[in-house]
């Protein structure tokens, strides 16, 4: 290969690829031209072809893999397929295959049915959303318990020693609910709803909290009940002027 002509050296190196036809067209054309004018290069190409023929003969004499090798390989592949089938991707593939097996009219019908179902769901959700409260939250004083709701209002300051359980029990017993507070001095604003005797807790009906003949709960009676509980309140008075 050691000549003083680099192009000729390169041609020598590329002769094997020229013999197999795996050479780029430009280099192939250059070698063809060189072969036409250089008998020695042509002789070396013959040597290359003899090497190629010998290599092909050696390889072809090696035979082919046995059927057993094939069986072993596909047994491994089948086992791998079985593992894949049990995995989540297997389910997705089976759904895909089920869809693919549908005829075009069936597929179109299924798609329409799915669209109709989606629209129905969207309508129901929208109706629920629009028909309900527009607020995303509600305060404890909203609605019946709100400041504008009917009923009587009391201002109560619970004793520092009163426990949460005592306060809760008293509120349930009297039908009161906290609508505001604590304000300055620890005063809570409590609401006594109209008709509490008819809809309140059973304990109210069992006790004489009602006033006169209309069967309504008397704020005064409720205040007395609160004051009567030892250690529960330090202040309990009716609210005479609406706070708001």
């Amino acid at each position: 290969m050691t000549t003083t002509d680099p192009a000729r050296d390169e041609d020598d190196l590329l002769l094997p690829w020229h013999a197999t036809g795996r050479i780029d067209p430009a280099a192939g054309a250059r070698i063809e031209a060189a072969l036409a004018r250089d008998p020695e290069l042509a002789r070396r190409l013959d040597l290359v072809r003899a090497e190629r023929d010998g290599t092909v003969a050696v390889n072809e004499a090696l035979g082919a893999p046995s059927p057993k090798a094939r069986d072993t390989l596909f047994a491994r592949i089948d086992a791998d397929l079985a593992v894949r089938e049990r995995g989540p991707r297997g389910w997705i593939r089976r759904i895909g295959e089920a869809l693919a097996s549908l005829s075009p009219p069936m597929l179109a019908g299924s798609a329409l049915a799915a669209c109709a179902l989606l629209l129905l769901q969207a309508g129901l959700l929208t109706g629920t959303w629009l028909g309900g409260s527009t607020a995303t939250y509600e305060t404890a004083s909203l609605g019946e318990g709100g400041p504008s709701a009917g009923g009587s209002y009391l201002l109560v300051a619970f004793a520092p020693t009163a426990t949460a359980a005592q306060i809760t029990e008293a509120l349930v017993e009297t039908g009161l609910s906290v609508v505001d507070g604590p304000r300055a001095g620890g005063i809570y604003r409590l609401r006594l709803p109209d008709g509490a005797a008819g809809s309140g807790a059973g304990s109210i009906r069992r006790r004489p909290l009602v006033d006169g003949v209309d069967g309504r709960v008397s704020p005064g009676a409720v205040l007395d009940r609160l004051r009567a509980k030892p250690g529960l309140v330090v202040l309990a008075v009716p609210e005479t002027v609406p706070a708001r």
Binding site: P16, I23, A50, T55, P65, A69, F74
Partner: protein, 186 residues
């Protein structure tokens, strides 16, 4: 209908298509097997390695990016597995350049090859090359890969492929000369 390309088969294999795998195996198993036999010189071991190569193809088809041909990709995997197997061999099996292919039962290598025909001498000398030399010769002459493809399989630069093949051919000439066949080159 024309046969699916190797790339089509690989795409189907990536989707778990067993029949595509059968097609690819039918098309390439013999070439891969022979490549492995030439590297490890053991048909039984070559079959095991070939099975590993195709199982890798089955499992990794989704990662095939098409930057090389499927043949190049598979031969690259095969070479890697063969080299790993050769590294696990006992040292006495590691080959320098095996003169055993030339040596016959009784005669010296030279005498044995002289007895054979020129083609037979060529065969024996091709088998006697080192694994590095016969691999590059096989990839070029038998598997008919281009320079860049051989470079990918062997993971070496294209220029090195050319010089490695030159040295392999030069070594082949030396062996033939030893066997009494002077080619007048290099």
């Amino acid at each position: 209908m024309s046969a699916p390309s190797d790339e089509d088969l690989i795409r189907r294999i990536a989707g778990g298509d067993r029949s595509a795998m059968q097609g690819l195996y039918a098309r390439h198993s013999t070439a891969v097997f022979r490549f492995l036999v030439r590297m490890v010189r053991d048909p039984s071991r070559a079959e095991d390695l070939m099975s590993d190569v195709f199982f890798d193809v089955w499992q990794q088809a989704g990662r095939f990016e098409g930057r090389s041909s499927v043949t190049t990709w598979m031969l690259t995997i095969a070479r890697f597995k063969a080299l790993s197997a050769l590294r696990r061999r006992p040292h006495d099996e590691l080959e320098p350049e095996l003169a055993e292919a030339i040596e016959d039962e009784a005669d010296t290598p030279e005498v044995t090859v002289q007895k054979a025909s020129k083609a037979e001498a060529m065969r024996r000398c091709l088998e006697a090359l080192s694994v590095e030399h016969r691999t590059v010769i096989d990839l070029v002459y038998y598997h008919e890969l281009g320079v860049e493809e051989v470079a990918q399989v062997l993971d070496i630069p294209a220029g090195t492929v050319k010089t490695r093949l030159f040295h392999a051919r030069k070594r082949l000439s030396d062996l033939l000369r030893t066997a009494g066949i002077d080619r007048g080159w290099p």
